[in-house]
């Protein structure tokens, strides 16, 4: 891996980290406000987290 690739991978991870934090935080807020909807919120949270993670992995994989 060359240095631009490594910097790019770092940026991807920062972006994915911010995104995952947002998803997790908002889901927690939602669950705190409406605990009955926990399972629905969790499922959607996992789906979106997985999509984001897939994007991040794809970017790292293509950049390698």
């Amino acid at each position: 891996m060359t240095i631009p690739n490594l910097v790019g991978a770092g940026l991807i991870v920062i972006g994915a980290g911010i995104g995952l934090g947002q998803i997790g935080g908002k889901a927690m807020e939602g669950i705190a406000r409406n605990p009955e909807a926990t399972s629905k919120i969790q499922t959607n949270m996992i789906i979106i987290a997985a999509l984001l993670e897939g994007l991040a992995f794809a970017a790292i994989f293509l950049g390698k």
Binding site: I46, I47, A50, L51, A58
Partner: protein, 383 residues
């Protein structure tokens, strides 16, 4: 009554013992082979002391292999001995299909040891098998890493991953056949099936039904169940000894994603194609711009499925092995006991997380497959 249960218990205990002994005999019957210690034989088989050798060893583990390599040691005469058991090699060469056991390579992975088989000379270099041209003794590479005096053959071998997949298939058929047969006698399953039943119901009620829809989910439940249990069992097998890395092979995840892609697109309804090529409800210039984007989107979805599973499992294996290697790398700074204790504590922690990841990845793959299929077969209400 009590006596009979006791008898049964003792009997099953004896059967398990017999099974263990036969497994041990099976393993040791195939075990052991020697290779002379030479300059070229530093490819991941040497004694693991330095950091570079550890990373080489880890990368070697991540890749697929033609044999099971358990451990290596130096015997009293200074020969490096490798213990493991071989797997069958099936290659399509210029002179037809050749089969032999991988023990003929004598654990050589550097292209030194030539296997002569009916006039075809074969060498193994970095787990790839090459057919040597006439008169060549070892494979040589140019700068672009293309072999100059040999060519790659079509490799249909039963490699470590193929062996692992066959093992998973056998296990799944055995478990689910026994599970299904139990319903003939009574409605409550016994033994291991008590773990399987809630998982089957979970996949049906939490993954298939909400994503595909009450009306059509039955058609796809077979695929979703198979994918879920295949990925889960393979992931768990990867956490056990013998070093399987089935779902960490990009070829395996590619095939799984290809199944999802084909099933999605072959069962897609008219509305799905309409939303790709001629998105309703937007102006015509927008429709023209959206069509290629949507078309690309159909490819990126299975691509992400493929890469997600591959990267997660590979990364997990690398992390587990790196943490185990702490016991060696920090030996000089922390002392043997300190380094071992740290490596033990961390690997216990990370292996527990990997157990969770094994399930989570199977769940996510199945869930997203169901989601994509659901999007394709959905009937839109016409406005």
């Amino acid at each position: 009554m009590k006596e009979t249960t006791h008898m049964n218990l003792r009997k099953s205990g004896r059967n398990k013992l017999l099974g263990l002994i036969s497994l041990f005999v099976f393993c040791s019957a195939f075990a052991s082979g020697t290779a002379p210690k030479s300059d070229g034989d530093s490819e991941g088989h040497g004694a693991i002391t330095s950091e570079s050798e550890i990373s080489e060893y880890i990368l070697h583990h991540i890749k697929d292999a033609h044999d099971f390599h358990l451990f290596s040691y130096d015997d009293s005469e200074g020969h490096r001995r490798h213990v493991g058991f071989p797997l069958p090699v099936i290659v399509h060469t210029s002179k037809g299909i050749k089969t032999f056991m991988s023990s003929k390579f004598h654990h050589d992975d550097s292209g030194h040891h030539v296997v002569e088989k009916d006039g075809v000379a074969l060498v193994k270099y970095h787990e790839k098998i090459y057919e040597l041209d006439q008169g060549a003794h070892r494979v040589e590479f140019d700068e672009a890493h293309h072999p100059t005096n040999a060519h790659a053959v079509l490799d249909l071998s039963v490699t470590k991953s193929v062996f692992g997949m066959l093992l998973v298939f056998t296990l799944l058929i055995f478990w689910f056949r026994r599970h299904a047969l139990q319903y003939r006698k009574n409605s409550i399953p016994k033994g291991f099936s008590r773990i399987l039943e809630p998982l089957v119901i979970y996949v049906r009620d939490e993954i298939a039904k909400p994503n595909i829809g009450e009306k059509q989910y039955r058609k796809f439940i077979g695929f979703l169940m198979t994918v879920f249990f295949f990925i889960w069992t393979s992931n768990l097998l990867g956490l056990m000894p013998f070093g399987f890395n089935i779902t960490g092979q990009i070829a395996v995840t590619f095939s799984l994603a290809l199944f999802t892609y084909s099933i999605t697109h072959f069962s897609a309804k008219k509305d799905y194609w309409k939303h790709i090529f001629w998105m309703p409800g937007v102006p015509i210039p927008m429709k023209i711009i959206l069509a290629p984007i949507e078309l690309l989107g159909t490819l990126t979805k299975p691509f992400a499925l493929m890469v997600r599973l591959f990267a997660n499992i590979s990364a997990g294996h690398i992390v587990v092995m790196s943490i185990i290697a702490i016991g060696i790398t920090l030996r000089n700074t922390m002392g043997v006991i300190g380094a071992s204790a740290l490596s033990f504590a961390l690997s216990l922690f990370i292996t527990t997380i990997e157990l969770l990841v094994a399930f989570l990845q199977a769940y996510i793959f199945t869930m997203l497959s169901a989601l994509f299929i659901g999007m394709a077969v959905e009937e839109h209400e016409h406005h």
